[in-house]
């Protein structure tokens, strides 16, 4: 069982992330935590100084965090985006596609299940924040 799963080679940020509100006031913070109702676009002017964005999933059925992650990637953010909270193995494949590259679930995940989930889909249908080529592009290469 693993507690935190990272798909990055750099050093993890070793201090706690702050809320969006306190981040905007606090000039030296480099780790911030987004709640479902926060607007990820508020962070865009500050992306250069951010190393970690935690996106909280209080319940796995609230899908706003998927959009938040994609918006950050679309804005060119290359730092860590970590899904925290009610993060389940059946969601991490899609989260990864939306730009998450670290997972810190409340309940630890079984590495074998993680591996199976991440290798599940031979291809993808649509463009997202990962580098996979959609089927409709493969068809017309």
């Amino acid at each position: 069982m693993v507690d935190i799963l990272r798909f990055r080679d750099d050093e993890a940020v070793d201090h706690a992330a702050v809320t969006v509100d306190s981040f905007v006031e606090q000039t030296n913070a480099n780790a911030v935590r987004i709640e479902p109702s926060d607007d990820a676009r508020d962070l865009i002017p500050h992306l250069a100084q951010i190393h970690l964005v935690e996106v909280n999933f209080p319940v796995f059925g609230d899908g706003r965090g998927y959009s938040a992650a994609r918006i950050l990637r679309e804005a060119g953010y290359t730092g860590e985006i970590r899904a925290v909270g009610d993060v389940l193995v059946d969601q991490i494949g899609n989260m990864k596609r939306c730009g998450f590259d670290a997972f810190e679930p409340d309940a630890p995940l079984d590495p074998a299940d993680v591996k199976a989930a991440l290798n599940r889909w031979p291809e993808v249908y649509q463009e997202s924040a990962d580098s996979r080529t959609p089927i409709w592009n493969l068809r017309h290469e």
Binding site: G61, S67, L88, M95, V124, E127, L138, H140
Partner: protein, 543 residues
């Protein structure tokens, strides 16, 4: 008709494996029922009153005979020998065992079918005009656009946990046969002044407890921006749709609360941003899909039928629809026999319909949202042979768009959310109006029944609608008049206090009688209601 390539096939195969794995983890106790539920729902598996129900997707309602045979085999092998065609142009099986679900999905995958996203808070099966590719009045076949949207919406990583379910319909004629403006997104393929095709977007329609007709938010989206615009509509909804109250979570509430103008502004802003993200498929993909929807080889032949058999002539008048080729028609197979369960078909009937599609309709069938089946391309000279075969199998009921052609949801006989039964009521009404001979005289009259406020039976859109409610533990039925799901979309209004089960059948007859006594030349029930208003009906019902 669309055929999978290796990619599509690999995706449905992967889905079968994923589901088997999830079901196993549930059985091993690694997944709680709460965690398993959304996963099984995204594979169309519901837990109903008596058993699991499995909903199978029929993309834009189009099937070939091999697929219809496979659906029949599933009914025999895993259910009780029948299936139920739904208002979403899908098919449901009501008596499924969880242990069999993986095998059923594998059987479906073998004929290029699946149950992906037929439930859950995600983008559902895309629906379309059941006469697509055949209707005389269409601009183009809408199904290639629906197929492109199917691919885009399948396993869309960002939109699997929307605030609520999301339904899209695509049409391409001014006559709306798909209730387009009662969808979360309704798209009409249109031509602009320059003669180019594009998509007109209607967003925020729906039925349920707060019925709304979708406003047009953009008249023309170029075809090479169709997916990007759809993505913008969905992203705004995913971010800002309400999640605090399940009953206020559909996009219609967001559009209503923001106002269509503000919602549109946000979509346009997101759209402008997404245009720079390169998410649109190559336009060649639409071209590739279109090659699957070219016309079959139509041949000239007889343009009229021999009307010497009155039963046959009646069926032709009632159940066939004008085709773009004058030697063909689209023929509707009614799944509404008098006293039957609307939308049900036995495995035997499904096999027969498959065979007839092969013999007479270029191997194609359609599921209608009114729970009937269409053979889209039938030669006029083959109609008698077709009708004879249908009639022998109890599939020749000549009641398309008549009062007996009732839409009814499963209701309290199957559905765990129901307040009242729908099916027995449909049975009683069709029996009543056949026995008293009024079905004939009434002409077009669309009657729709829902067993609770969720409106799966589209009661808001019925010329006559019936809504089952719970009145101190007793089933009670409200009567509604004046709805339409066609291009003249309107929402039906409640007449007044509800009725008992027998009382509502009488009330429907009373309303029908008001129409019969007041109608002017050529008026349908709906036209008369619109002209004279609710008062005369109220007077007759409660006066």
């Amino acid at each position: 008709m669309y055929a999978y390539d290796k990619y599509d096939q690999a995706m449905v195969d992967a889905r079968v494996e994923e589901f088997r794995d999830q079901a196993q983890r549930r059985l091993d106790g690694k997944l709680s029922e709460d965690q398993f539920k959304p996963l099984r729902l995204m594979n169309g598996l519901y837990l109903q009153l008596h058993a699991y129900m499995l909903r199978v997707a029929v993309p834009y309602g189009t099937l070939n005979s091999r697929q219809m045979h496979a659906l029949a085999d599933i009914a025999d092998k895993y259910d009780r020998g029948y299936g139920h065609f739904t208002t979403r142009q899908n098919i449901q099986y009501n008596w499924i065992k969880l242990e069999d679900a993986g095998d059923i999905l594998a059987d479906l995958a073998a004929v290029e079918m699946h149950a992906i996203q037929t439930s859950g808070n995600c983008i559902r099966n895309i629906s379309s005009d059941h006469f697509a590719g055949a209707a005389q009045d269409e601009l183009v076949d809408p199904r290639p656009y629906a197929e492109l949207l199917r691919q885009w919406s399948s396993f869309h990583p960002e939109f699997m946990y929307l605030p609520r379910k999301f339904k899209i319909a695509v049409i391409a004629s001014d006559t709306d046969r798909a209730a387009m403006r009662l969808h979360d997104i309704g798209i009409q393929i249109v031509k602009n002044d320059a003669g180019e095709l594009g998509a007109s977007f209607y967003v925020g329609g729906g039925m349920g407890r707060t019925p709304m007709i979708a406003p047009n938010i953009r008249e023309f989206v170029p075809l090479d921006q169709l997916i990007t615009y759809s993505e913008a509509c969905l992203r705004v909804y995913n971010r800002y749709g309400r999640r605090d109250n399940k009953y206020k979570a559909r996009i219609k509430i967001l559009v209503h609360e923001l106002g269509a103008e503000e919602y549109t502004r946000q979509v346009e802003e997101e759209f402008a941003h997404l245009l720079g993200q390169g998410i649109e498929p190559p336009i060649a993909e639409l071209g590739r899909i279109k090659t699957f929807f070219t016309d079959p080889e139509f041949a000239d032949g007889a343009k009229t039928v021999d009307r010497s058999d009155p039963d046959f002539a009646l069926w032709v008048d009632r159940n066939t629809h004008r085709h773009k080729h004058d030697s063909y028609v689209s023929a509707v197979i009614s799944l509404k026999p008098v006293g039957g369960i609307p939308g049900d078909a036995t495995a035997e009937q499904m096999h027969l319909m498959a065979q007839l599609a092969r013999d007479y309709s270029f191997d194609e069938l359609r599921v209608m949202h009114t729970q009937n089946i269409v053979l889209p391309h039938v030669r006029i000279e083959d109609l008698h042979a077709l009708w004879t075969a249908l009639d022998e199998a109890g599939l020749g009921t000549p009641n398309l768009d008549r009062i007996g052609d009732i839409i009814a949801c499963p209701g309290l006989d199957y559905c765990s959310l129901a307040n009242a039964r729908s099916i027995p009521l449909a049975q009683k009404i069709s029996q009543r109006f056949t026995a008293n001979g009024k079905e004939d005289t009434l002409g077009e009259l669309k009657l729709k029944i829902s067993g609770c406020i969720n409106a799966c039976g589209h009661h808001h859109a019925g010329h006559i609608g019936i809504l089952g409610v719970d009145k101190k533990g007793v089933e009670n039925y409200q009567l509604l008049l004046g709805g339409s799901e066609a291009e003249d979309t309107s929402l039906a209004k409640i007449t007044g206090p509800g009725f008992s089960e027998d009382g509502i059948v009488d009330a429907v007859e009373t309303a029908a009688d008001v129409y019969l006594s007041q109608r002017e030349d050529g008026e349908r029930f709906l036209d008369t209601y619109r002209r004279i208003g609710m008062a005369p009906f109220k007077e007759a019902l409660y006066g």
